[in-house]
């Protein structure tokens, strides 16, 4: 039955935005762990490990996120032998996907630290792990924050693709609302506005961080 688009629908869309944020948070957590591993592989002193990290990044970044979602949505039941909910499929796909981008961003930040820092810490007898932990990472984190916040915006927008495997977040809720009210223009403008309200502050924050961190260096 077709009913009017009203404030209640906007309220439901806002509620659905919570799932967008929840998925973004989990994807960032999973992607962060993968990304940390990949970034460390990329700067490791062992050449095959560096190649492994580079290979991971270029393969994952060369395949559309939509394809990752479908491969895991249909593939996990086959590979793991269990039926998976859209939650699990989306989590796995987003972790793998975000891991490649975060890994690439953080590699750049690790490499932005001057060579001499590595050499000086090596000459003090620190192991690779200790060099990273005590010398390189604490300095790289400052460089890493603005682009990481910028990527968070990408991630929020990309969670909209989880709608296509039936994950009910903001975009999917928009589709459902549209199918009962048949007000596509209004519904999707409201959906876009909610995304904008989540992303724009982050974009601005990333920019101001970039400015303040650059000045203080």
């Amino acid at each position: 039955m077709i009913r009017e688009f009203s404030l209640v629908d906007i309220y439901y869309l806002l509620l659905a935005a919570r799932w967008t944020l929840a998925l973004t948070g989990l994807a960032f957590l999973g992607g962060g762990l993968v990304g940390l591993l990949i970034a460390v592989l990329r700067v490791s002193p062992v050449a095959p490990l560096r190649a492994l990290g580079a290979g991971y990044i270029s393969i994952v970044q060369g395949i559309p996120l939509l394809a990752w979602l479908f491969v895991f949505f249909f593939g996990l039941p086959i590979l793991a032998g269990v039926r998976v909910s859209p939650w699990i499929a989306a989590m796995v796909a987003f972790s793998i996907y975000a891991g490649a981008f975060l890994g690439d961003i953080w590699r750049g930040c690790l490499q932005a630290i001057p060579r001499q820092q590595w050499e000086a810490s090596a000459s003090l007898g620190l192991s690779f792990a200790d060099q990273l932990r005590y010398i390189i990472v604490p300095q790289a984190v400052r460089v890493a924050i603005p682009p990481t916040v910028g990527f968070l915006v990408q991630l929020i927008k990309n969670t909209s693709l989880a709608a296509v495997i039936g994950f009910v977040e903001l975009t999917r809720e928009g589709q459902l609302t549209n199918s009962t009210t048949y007000r596509p223009f209004t519904v999707y403008i409201v959906v876009a506005a909610i995304y904008f309200a989540m992303c724009f502050p982050l974009t601005q924050w990333s920019r101001s961080l970039e400015r303040t961190l650059r000045v203080s260096r």
Partner: protein
């Protein structure tokens, strides 16, 4: 129960896959050209324009970059008809992709334009070049060279993002995958194959861009 993989049914569908690749490449090429044109004009407007031009351009960039492409596509394809603008799926896809890419290229090229020193522009004018000539030869081409890596990696991302237009049934590679899925019920196999095709396209595109850079920027 063991799952028996079956890729033979997928290979049998290669003509459809080839057609899908054709549509994806067409979408990518048109979007790249349109995105480049929007980006060059948008960046020029943002850097050299008056405030009545700069403000709406800044708004365009921010709105597009802070909302998902999928929702932009839905607004154009499902939303515009209720305002009396009816578009077929491919046209809607091309508009959405170009508008989206244009916002990113505007920002990227703007960074390049701002990197060109003011003194070079003045030198161009003092040699008697017109405003348009200065923009083309003194500003735009060095700027493009500076931002070439950022620009081309955005193009590769855009090629992959064209897969999203399958959601409004534009007959691109990804949409073909869903058609083959419904014909064969081999969902895992088809999406794995399609993922590999995208990966190959992305790597080829990267190689082409690297080769183009070698040729275009070599003698300088």
């Amino acid at each position: 129960m063991r799952y028996a993989f079956n890729f033979r049914d997928i290979w049998a569908q290669w003509p459809a896959i080839a057609e899908g690749i054709g549509v994806t490449l067409m979408l990518t090429a048109v979007t790249m050209l349109a995105g480049l044109a929007i980006g060059a004009l948008g960046a020029a407007g943002r850097v050299y324009g008056r405030s009545w031009l700069r403000t709406p351009l800044a708004a365009y960039v921010e709105v597009v970059r802070n909302t998902p492409l999928l929702v932009q596509l839905f607004i154009i394809f499902f939303g515009l008809p209720s305002l009396g603008v009816r578009l077929d799926a491919v046209t809607a896809a091309l508009i959405a992709l170009s508008v989206n890419l244009g916002a990113y290229t505007t920002e990227i090229i703007r960074a390049g334009l701002e990197a060109v020193p003011r003194s070079q522009i003045e030198a161009g004018y003092s040699l008697g070049l017109s405003g348009v000539q200065v923009f083309r030869h003194v500003v735009l081409s060095p700027a493009i060279r500076i931002v070439y890596p950022a620009l081309t990696s955005q193009f590769v991302l855009m090629m992959l993002a064209t897969s999203i237009v399958s959601q409004i049934s534009a007959p691109d590679l990804f949409h073909i995958a869903s058609i083959i899925q419904s014909r064969t019920f081999r969902d895992f196999e088809i999406y794995t194959v399609i993922a590999m095709v995208y990966l190959a396209l992305a790597l080829i595109l990267k190689l082409l861009f690297a080769a183009t850079a070698q040729i275009a920027f070599a003698r300088r």
